[in-house]
Symmetry: C2
Subunit: 331 residues, 2 copies
């Protein structure tokens, strides 16, 4: 490790997060890939298992709260592995002084989100820490799902199409708009949503889907860089095709952020056989969360392991994995 | 809820923790019992699923650290359900400024503890929060196991024997001895240990084991009160039979704590058919973690749902569930 202390950037989802995983966690635990979930075999069937901690600040934000996020985020990690979400665990770390009314509202939100996706919260744990030692509450959810499709960031091939189901950057901008010290006026609300039913409709459409990732921490930039690296292919995104709303663009300009690096919590980047793109788009557009689905790029042979952006004026630039220093903590 | 804000006692493992679960979480998520793990059916087999967050302060303590604790605690929750631990998830919340060397030591400790019990860490997540917003690091582990025995706090019957595998109160006292502000001299080290192989040897001994619980937060007091309430029986502990070391007794006197309420992290309270107590003791004593196993009490018909302590001088007192206010945070 280059640093001798943990930096905020180690949690940003960029290259410093990758370094932490690759140099510390992966060697210790023998993890090979940076997939969203592990797949193990139990009683002869494939089971997906994943975990995420949620430390979003503030814990209520436009379009959701930390409870909804904690359900959607983990359910989506299972969905990205082609797994039907079945059960969640719920670990809460509460700050002394947290208003019970806030906790009740968050629990109601967890209940609603779980019911929405048909997943059951079956086990839980609560700890309380002294005032000031967390920010209201931190939540961990782990999830178990049943794998019904073979998808992996390593299965992407030249000729594949890159599809996203709608507008980018809305979760990150919505959270930032309420952040102490930088609050600004916007009507952007978080896209936080459970993606399983959308993903399922694409999976059963008959299309050959190779990989799925939800562009959360580090945004679309990290997602396409990860897939390009895992499959040893080039990914070329068309800037003109990227669905980014005017308000998100404006907020990014204001804050000096690249919309490609802003987190989403209700988006899936799906990579399928090029010839099947229409089938995936049809399936997605028939679902409320996929009405704005579109092809945003293609997979090429070269440059191997890299993602490029074809700009609106005809140029091309490399999409870099951000270090994480410029990525706000939004999940 | 009687309070309108979260108190430290809500996390103490006593009656306020119970209130939080019974009034808020259980109604929202339809949880029926306060078992350590959920049991669900996957592919026709019973799977146990559990979660725990660890916020122990300080994160290094005599006999272990937060990493070892995070593996043992979750593995033990699975074991208490009669489940062989198979896989763990690892969610880390790191504080900005945490020395990487400390993190490396904790990761090594997680790795060693997992290898010791034969469980695999298959998925993980890392978040970083601003300096001061956690205490070095908080860890969540969720675990999956294969259920091989039918045990439940509701299956205890009059005539059963109550057994524990060794000295009580050592984890809590070891952690407190290093706590800022109240540090004191002691050679007590935490009993933190993975209990699965000990439990397994008792399970395969042929003894009829009805219930198992690890007396962590709230100690033996909460454990026996919970079991008595769940099974609608009386539990009578013999004070003279309780294995409590002189140093733990001394520390409890010093701090005004009841050793029955102090947390353990390497102890199991096993309730078996009275006639099978010898068989369980034999199995336990053949294992390094069970050499000091002994019968500490019996199950009676009355008083229904209550636990009593027969004191050394021949009296009897009710064992109360502490509210949690006097319980130090030690896990």
């Amino acid at each position: 490790m280059k640093q001798d202390r943990i930096l905020l950037a180690h949690g940003g989802g960029g290259s410093l997060t990758h370094e932490l995983i690759e140099r510390l966690f992966a060697p210790a635990f023998g993890m090979k890939e940076l997939e969203d979930s592990a797949v193990v075999e139990f009683a002869g069937q494939r089971l997906a298992f994943t975990t995420d901690s949620y430390v979003v600040k503030p814990y209520f934000f436009p379009g959701g709260d930390i409870g909804k996020l904690a359900v959607c985020g983990t359910v989506n990690d299972l969905a990205m592995q082609g797994a039907q979400p079945l059960w969640l665990s719920l670990g809460m770390i509460l700050e002394e002084g947290l208003p019970i009314a806030d906790l009740e509202r968050i629990v109601a939100s967890i209940k609603a989100a779980a019911a929405d996706v048909g997943v059951k919260i079956v086990t839980g744990d609560t700890k309380v820490v002294e005032r000031g030692k967390c920010e209201g509450l931190y939540i961990n959810t782990a999830g178990i799902g049943r794998v019904i499709a073979d998808v992996s960031s390593t299965r992407v091939r030249p000729g594949d199409a890159v599809i996203v189901n709608g507008n980018l950057g809305e979760h990150g901008v919505a959270v930032l708009s309420r952040r102490e010290g930088i609050a600004f006026q916007t009507s952007v609300i978080s896209d936080c949503a459970p993606l399983w039913s959308l993903v399922q409709s694409a999976l059963i459409s008959g299309a050959e889907i190779h990989a799925m990732r939800d562009p959360t921490r580090g945004g679309l930039a990290v997602t396409v860089c990860d897939i390009a690296a895992a499959s040893g292919v080039g990914i070329r995104l068309q800037e003109s095709a990227l669905p980014i709303g005017a308000e998100v663009r404006g907020a990014c300009d204001l804050l000096g952020l690249d919309p490609l690096t802003i987190a989403n919590e209700g988006k899936v980047v799906m990579v399928c056989r090029g010839a099947d793109a229409g089938r995936v788009l049809d399936a997605m557009r028939g679902h409320p969360l996929g009405r704005d689905a579109r092809v945003i790029g293609e997979v090429t042979e070269k440059p191997k392991g890299m993602a490029m952006l074809r700009t609106a004026i005809g140029g091309e630039r490399i999409i870099d994995v951000p270090t994480g220093e410029d990525l706000p903590r939004i999940c």
